[in-house]
Amino acid sequence: MADTLLDIRNLAVQYQTDDATIYAVNNINLAIRQGETIGIVGETGAGKTTIAKSIMRILPNPQGKIVSGEIRFKDQNLLDLPEKEMQKVRGNQIAMIFQDPMTALNPIETVGYQIAEAIRRHNKITQAEADRRACDMLETVGIPMDRFGEYPHQFSGGMKQRVVIAMALACNPELLLADEPTTALDVTIQAQVLDMMRSLKEKFKTSVMLITHDLGVVAEFCETVAVTYSGEIVERGTVEHIFDNPQHPYTLGLFGSLPKLDTKDRRLKPIKGMMPDPTNLPIGCRFRDRCPDAIEACAAAPPDVETEPGHIVKCVRAKEKGGAAV
């Protein structure tokens, strides 16, 4: 596609520990178009954060290793870039917001300085000019300019996350990786921050990859969705595909597990069992042991099946409903 901004092909990432290899991301394919907002949904250990860290090339060294695949950002494979070139991309063309705003900021520097630092890192400008732009960014995220000289501990959680967002957007990146940006915040503050991110995204025309475990946030914020499980993308499509016509048994299970505000049922329908051990993944479909619809064919690696245009399901049984393998 002409307007593809980021194209991940066959990415596999492993972590090496003293006594085992953790298969964190297993041959995923994912493309993000210019201006697109994609939600990466999944539970703890599904490999969501590892995908983002691979794009930024900030996997823990030496434990984390990209064993295969390509990450194409515009015309270059990020994995081929020398570290020096990568530093020009990181924070400038691709920025990342981390989950916990309390630990993402330096406690002994003022917030203004930290934002200006990001700007100076990538632009040849004076400190005064960088400070001025940092002030503008603070205002953009709804923090009065006169708090420029304050330290992170003087800000509440929601305000700190705004500072982190200001820092990430300071260089006007083309792609923003947001790793659970609102998980640590209260719901009313989450609503404020999401609302702000939405308007900034439109203003700066940034593509966003939003990593979250919260399907509600995805429904409100994203255009497309990828559901991850055990280091694989098990289902992807537009929000309409995923929310109106979920196909993969895991996606269906996730929706069933959610307490709903509009039901009389007193019991939830959890998915039985737990996610497989990433050091010892089962052969074939990884969801097989927890799946209510498993059949013998699930013992072989499941194909990617396109059930409707743009809606891809990693499940052999999706074929029965008329899908074609891709």
Partner: protein
């Protein structure tokens, strides 16, 4: 019938350098056997302090607590020990609430040892029974917490709380740290246990959708005070307090249809240190006016439905008009 637990005008103030911090400020409620009271609010609203004060993990500043009709506000040491058998707590974080050097069976046995009067063999049998009840496989007996995932750890926490056969359990955000599919398993377990054993829960959480699921009655707290209290169905059908409305509207709904109108609150929660006498939500309320500076009190707006807002009627009429 005497309720299992009755709390009257409970207050807990903490001294801080800046002044008196009103963590819990005049909270009253009753809880019947086998029922669940949901306590909802955001960080800093005093919901955790309330739970801990009721259990005497923190001593109350003022107010009264009755358990099975008996005043337990200022218990003697020995009384308190007895009381603890009846009242237990499940903590939020299954990672930090377990001793990393105790195996699963040691952790579950600890309350039995403290109570005393049981042989080693009897305690072992009891531990196995408890593990079975909460759905932990016996083979995990000698595992350490770090070997287990969050869902299993929380089951240990539940088994510990159940060990002395309490009548009342404070559940302080018991599922917030868990993934949704595991969260559903744990909530179902708690519902089963309640049915089997007639347990009363005080379920403290920030998650309105979870609380609706399991509660009979719900209290919404803001800065140490109850702003709205009602049976669960009634509350969700007829929200009255502007804060409860904003809180509900802020929850992202996992559906792409029936988009609701979002009430976006401006500003953040104000300080609970030396609060002014008026409505504490006033600074963020879009309907705030002169009268809100006066102290607010809970008023019954429908049978069993209490709201602490001097202008709830006008606000409701106004919103009806706006809708039409």
């Amino acid at each position: 019938m005497t309720p299992l637990l009755e709390v009257r005008d409970l207050k807990k103030y903490f001294k801080s350098r800046a002044g008196l911090l009103h963590a819990v400020d005049g909270v009253s409620f009753t809880l019947e056997k086998g029922k669940t009271l949901g306590v909802v609010g955001e960080s800093g609203c005093g919901k955790t302090t309330l739970g801990r004060t009721v259990l005497h993990l923190i001593e109350p500043t003022d107010g009264q607590i009755f358990f099975e009709g008996k005043d337990i506000t200022r218990p003697k040491k020995r009384e308190l020990r007895k009381l603890r058998e009846q009242m237990q707590i499940i903590f939020q974080d299954p990672f930090s609430s377990l001793d990393p050097r105790m195996t699963v069976s040691e952790a579950i046995m600890e309350p039995l040892i403290l109570k005393g009067g049981m042989s080693r063999a009897a305690m072992h049998a009891e531990v196995r029974q408890l593990m079975d009840t909460v759905g932990l496989a016996t083979r995990l007996e000698n595992s350490y917490p770090h070997e287990l995932d969050g869902g299993r750890r929380q089951r240990i926490g539940i088994a510990r709380a159940l060990a002395l056969k309490p009548k009342f359990i404070v559940c302080d955000e018991p599922v917030s740290a868990l993934d949704v599919s595991i969260q559903a398993q744990v909530i179902n377990l708690m519902l089963d246990l309640q049915e089997e054993r007639g347990l009363a829960y005080m379920f403290v959480t920030h998650d309105l959708s979870v609380v609706k699921y399991i509660s009979n009655d719900i209290m919404v707290m803001y800065l140490g005070q109850v702003v709205e209290k009602a049976p669960a169905d009634e509350l969700f059908a007829n929200l009255r307090h502007p804060y409860s409305k904003a809180l509900l509207s802020a929850i992202p709904i996992p559906s792409i249809h029936n988009r609701k109108e979002r009430i976006l609150l401006t500003g953040e929660i104000t300080s609970p240190i030396n609060p002014k006498p008026g409505c504490r939500f006033m600074t963020r309320c879009r309907y705030a006016r002169e009268e809100c500076n006066k102290p607010q009190k809970l008023e019954e707006c429908a049978p069993g439905h209490f709201v602490s807002c001097c202008c709830y009627k006008e606000i409701n009429d106004l919103e009806e008009v706006n809708k039409a």
